[in-house]
Amino acid sequence: MPTIKNRKIAAAILTLLFLIFHQGISAAESLDDRVNEIAHLLMCPVCQGQSVAESNSNLAQDMRQIIRKQLEEGKSKEEVITYFVNRYGETILASPPPKGVNWLLWVLPGLAIIFGGLGIGIYLYKSQSGKGSGDSGKRPENRAADSDYMLKIDEELKRHES
């Protein structure tokens, strides 16, 4: 017949086994996550716009295997990425660093926003100041022509009403 002491020992063993098993699963998941994270940062060199994580090509499979192996060997994320950059160049990076031609990709959108905003600001400022001053910016001959034209319209309207 099981005693209370035996039950306690059994519970302790079960808890220990659960912890060991759970730890093992967590560690495996964590490595998978790290492999996946790095694979998402690298573009598959033989694919059209797919990362190493997304591609099923032979090369992408080899690369995922190497990422896993290097992480298991204790290499850091940066070291693994550097390994691939040293072999395939910076074009393998999903986010190219701001250097050389890549620099334009990082700077041009900012410049476009700044200059576009400035352009819109200047346009709005000019149109507002134009309204405030009425037709003061027009030349005298243009103003005279406008008033003649308005007089003609008024006459036509009156004639039409009568």
């Binding site: 090369l59 295997q65 190497i66 072999r87 160049g89 050389g100 031609v101 620099w103």
Partner: protein
């Protein structure tokens, strides 16, 4: 009569100047990146191949020799196209301190063996049991060929099918590596 006032004209000129300056820097400011492979000029990564005849060969054993490292697959049509040129060039260079090595990648052993029987290739051909060598050498497709000088430095990489003339050119460049190094040092 001008449509734009002076301030706008200056603004447009400044923007054009900035864009041209950025383009100029981007195109000419970092010319070092224009290379066929980042490995060119560096030590060739070490490898051990399991040859189809059962032997093994390591790159370190070949120090002092010029090495042509050709990556191929049996399903690759351009590889079939270059096979006769490789065979002819190997016959020409095999007694001249030049070693040709074929590395079969992304293939099945049976298909690779029948390819070798059909297309020749008297030089050592093998596979990497770890399937890492293709990534170690930054291979993106087949055929791709590396030329390694006698001191173990990669002198060139060629993507696409080789001809005898291309092989001559790059093998001579690789063989001349040590001569160049000793003349500049």
């Amino acid at each position: 009569m001008s449509i734009l006032n002076t301030g706008t004209k200056i603004g447009v000129l400044v923007i054009i100047f900035l864009v041209l300056a950025l383009l100029g820097y981007a195109l000419f400011g970092d010319r070092e990146t224009v290379k066929t492979s980042p490995l060119v000029g560096k030590d060739a990564p070490e490898f051990t191949l399991k040859l189809f005849d059962g032997k093994r060969v390591s790159l370190s054993e070949l120090k002092g020799k010029t090495v042509l490292l050709n990556f191929w697959a049996s399903w690759c049509m351009p590889c079939r196209q270059e096979a006769p040129a490789l065979e002819q060039s190997w016959l020409k260079y095999k007694d001249k301190n030049v070693v040709f090595i074929g590395i079969n990648v992304w293939d099945e052993t049976r298909s690779a063996s029948s390819y070798i029987e059909k297309f020749g290739g008297g030089y050592p051909q093998g596979i990497d049991p770890e399937e890492e060598i293709q990534v170690d050498y930054g291979i993106g497709g087949v055929p791709e060929t590396y030329f390694i000088g006698p001191s173990g430095i990669i002198t060139d990489k060629y993507d696409g099918p080789l001809t005898e003339e291309i092989i001559d050119y790059y093998v001579n460049r690789a063989a001349g590596q040590e001569r160049d190094a000793s003349s500049t040092n």
